[in-house]
């Protein structure tokens, strides 16, 4: 139904996305997620030709709309757009907001337009507000009117551009409920959103945008439960990562500990856990150093990942060299540190390949 071929958009020197190919089937609900500034809004605006693409094509029902001889106004009737900031017509009341386009663009009969508008208003639960002006409504109500306004033109597809980002949490529910209802009724739609739970729930397919294009896409279930690529995983799990590398015996352990502490405090990790992280790393590093010949410099890299969503901490510890698994003989009294680590950790795993030891520790 909508298909793009190598869509390319830039603002001056800055490329927003390039080689972007999407294909949306009729009746699909596609969620577009990704960090801010990765071009989700620009993508929507480009699809609706509010922004001219700098390259590539957009097809609707097999017809190219990026060509020269296309009447944009006719095409736009097929698009509905719901904005983050609502943008209701402030000089018209709710009913006129909804009937304006059907009356003036579609030339629908006045009585018919009003009946349809009242129908839509009752669908979004605002029947009694038909004579109010936009400034008299709450944000959530305004957004519901905006949804009704775009539905009044019977669009083939509705683009929801962060429909709840400007709303306070008490109002997002009412708007999301309506979008859910529309999705269930089989309306084709694209939603860009930061509400992950909602996206997972309503979308059949998910597009993750990052690095100037589509970074990963797939079924909602797959993207949310089993993301394949690094950045997607970090975004979905709300991972915060701290990495550090050691290439000399004379590294500054105090500075390392301070950095770890600062990282942890930024994400409000409790003090006890911070101590545990530091302890585990210290012991591991000392253990590695003790196992090396004195003239060999260590090659250690580790990352601390904190998942805000689950409150979990994962330490990934890499060291190059010969195989080395400090957890093999646990009861060794010489390695008190290892016993300590085993006591603190929930799960420990070790893996050796291509001269690289990888130790994963969950705390």
């Amino acid at each position: 139904m909508i298909r793009t071929v190598n869509l390319y958009k830039r603002f001056g020197e800055l490329t927003v996305f390039s080689d972007l190919n999407i294909h949306i089937q009729k009746g699909e609900c596609v969620a577009v997620i990704g960090p801010s500034g990765t071009g989700k809004s620009v993508l929507f605006r480009t699809l609706a030709l509010l922004e001219r693409p700098d390259g590539g094509q957009v097809f609707i029902n097999g017809k190219e709309i990026t060509g020269r001889d296309v009447n944009i106004n006719n095409i736009r009737e097929k698009f509905g757009m719901v904005y983050q900031g609502f943008h209701l017509f402030s000089h018209l009341n709710v009913l006129d907001n909804i009937t304006l386009a059907p009356l003036k663009v579609k030339k629908v009969d006045r009585k018919e337009a009003r009946e349809r508008a009242m129908e839509l208003l009752s669908m979004v639960g605002l029947s009694e507000k038909f004579s109010s002006f936009p400034h008299q409504l709450s944000g959530g109500q305004q957004q519901r009117v905006a949804i009704a306004r775009s539905l009044a033109m019977d669009p083939d597809i509705i683009l929801f551009d962060e429909p709840t980002s400007a709303l306070d949490p008490s109002m997002t529910g009412e708007v999301l409920a309506i979008i859910r209802k529309l999705a269930r009724s089989g309306l084709t739609m694209m939603i860009s959103t930061h509400e992950m739970g909602f996206a997972q729930d309503v979308a059949s397919r998910v597009i993750y945008m990052d690095e100037k294009g589509i970074y990963e896409e797939g079924l909602a279930e797959q993207i949310f439960n089993n993301p394949q690529r690094e950045k997607t995983r970090m975004f979905i799990r709300k991972l915060k990562v701290f990495s550090y590398s050691i290439i000399s015996r004379g590294f500054d352990m105090v500075s390392m500990n301070v950095q770890i502490e600062m990282f942890c405090q930024k994400y409000n990790i409790e003090l006890k856990k911070i101590n545990h992280i530091q302890l585990v790393l210290e012991e591991l590093i000392l253990e590695v150093l003790a196992g090396l010949y004195t003239d060999v410099q260590p090659q250690i890299e580790f990352t601390v990942e904190f998942s805000e969503e689950r409150g979990e901490i994962l330490i990934t510890f890499n060291c190059k060299g010969r195989e080395f698994n400090p957890f093999e003989n646990k009861d060794d009294a010489d390695h008190l540190g290892i016993i300590l680590i085993s006591g603190i950790s929930k799960k420990i795993s070790h893996n050796y390949s291509n001269g690289l030891n990888t130790i994963n520790i969950n705390i």
């Binding site: 106004n73 698009f79 757009m81 900031g85 003036k104 775009s150």
Partner: protein, 242 residues
Amino acid sequence: MKQRMNLYVLKTGDLSLVEFVNSVANSFDKNIIDNNGWLVILKGLEITLFISITALLAGTIIGALLCSMRISKVGALKISAKIVIAFLRGSPVLLLLMVFYYVVFANSRFDAVFIAIIAFALNSGAHIAEIMRSALSAVDVRQLEAARMLGFSKIRAFMAITLPQATRIAKPVYQSATINLVQWTSVVGYVSITDLTRTVNNIGARTGDPFFALFFGILIYLAISYMVNFIFSLQGRKKITL
């Protein structure tokens, strides 16, 4: 009236009020009634209103033109509009009027009233252009975009969304510009037009009672201002019921 007055004097013995009322009535007779003074004033009022209304209409058209040039994307139009507006707004309207009357149209056969209308239309046109521009820029462009998304063409979206909102924003400023214009027309006496100000001045000079005549003139200007406000408020009321 006289009987009542006499009655009042008999009752209170106070003559000062009677003297005052008598002098006012006397001045009124002398200035307004005698020699058909009121007809002359009416003639002057007509001139004032004619100049004001025509200049306002022409000024609005000129303003719209200047404004559309000012906001156009063509650099030459934009800059020339900017210069014209700056010049017209920056020069005193009386000097503008005199330049037109004594220099530009000195050898033409144009009526002084016509020349005055040109001068005032240009001056108020420049002001109105800026009023329109600020009103247009105050309208939310995203609403225009929302209308485009619903299938409106550029021009129709402008007519349906931007124009009504801009009109509403501009109205109070436009209203005071109108009243300003009416009052500024009082200087047309400088170019030999017998407008309202000139007539009351003449009458005052003739009767030797300038205070009353001039004060009467002020009252008429005041009445015009109220009239303007009333007309604008009518338009506002209609909007809401629509």
